[in-house]
Symmetry: C2
Subunit: 153 residues, 2 copies
DNA sequence: CTGATAGTTGAAGTCAACTTCAAGTCAAGG
DNA sequence: CCTTGACTTGAAGTTGACTTCAACTATCAG
């Protein structure tokens, strides 16, 4: 193990749980920065771990990487972000989660009535049309990330 | 308007809310079937609408199309599915939704403590590691479908 | 100094669930 | 009969978040 306070990709990957390829990807997207050795290898500062924790948390809440990038861009440059900085960024998540929970609860309660009757009629059944607002558009949107859906659910 | 009891793609699309391209896609995936006119155009039976309602509901609950296809494959051949048939298929959704709601609630409650402290420490913070089980793997999994995230949340 | 281990790059691939396109064919009201 | 709008096909494109690949190169314990 080296003795500097800088971390290699492998170390950051191990400590953060992100794959090295993901770290490089995040760098390309402007979410992370890294110093380079003379040989061109990445060397991360320790605080990148907190940044990555934020990224993972935000992703768990449902933010896209673009949204995460936008949030991170509001952090002060020059100084290391304080706890208050991080706290500020995550303050809006609460209502977001509340909304998601409400939507799912509505779906579940609608399901309770549907299971009994097997109705599933278009436009009226709350399972196929909860709140008349759910009409999944566009490609590639899953309801929950696979781990939440499969393992911890 | 024609006078038969068979529906064209356009009609099914309009009544179900799915785009014609989605209907054709579902057919290729084995989720739907359609008769053909002499000229090769699709003609759907009316009960395809219930099938589509089921598909939309299942998608809202978070099932993949593969899972939906598997569920639909358990329907009896030969006879039109009864309400009990549909009811059976959707019975398992309740616990699925319960699990999703529980996961989100845990995330939110973890957030409450995190907002105060701005901790977000890796491995311990429940926001970045709810239940030590959330480590999003693989590509392309969003938390909620865009409509739920953006409009009704 | 050397060899194993870990790191580098850009380009291309993956996955789900569709959509879009081009180039044509069908159906039916007037 | 004809025109117009709806329908057909297979192939390729889209989106987000990464992963995989090939072909090197750097680092460091011994």
């Amino acid at each position: 193990m080296r003795t500097t306070d800088l971390l290699t990709v492998g170390e950051v990957a191990h400590r953060s749980g992100f794959a090295p390829s993901a770290l490089r990807f995040y760098e390309r997207q402007g979410l992370l920065q890294a110093a380079r050795t003379a040989g061109g290898q990445r060397r991360y500062q320790r605080n990148v771990l907190r940044r990555l924790a934020f990224i993972r948390a935000a992703r768990n809440v449902g933010l896209t990487l673009d949204e995460v990038a936008a949030a991170l861009a509001t952090l002060p440059e020059g100084r290391t972000p304080t706890k208050e900085d991080w706290s500020r960024l995550s303050r809006g998540w609460r209502s977001r989660l509340d909304g998601q929970i409400a939507a799912l609860t509505k779906l579940r309660d609608g399901l309770d009535s549907c299971i009994g009757c097997g109705c599933l009629s278009l436009r009226t059944c709350s399972m196929s049309n909860p709140d008349d607002a759910v009409a999944v558009r566009g490609p590639g949107a899953a309801f929950l990330p696979a781990p939440l859906r499969t393992e911890s659910a």
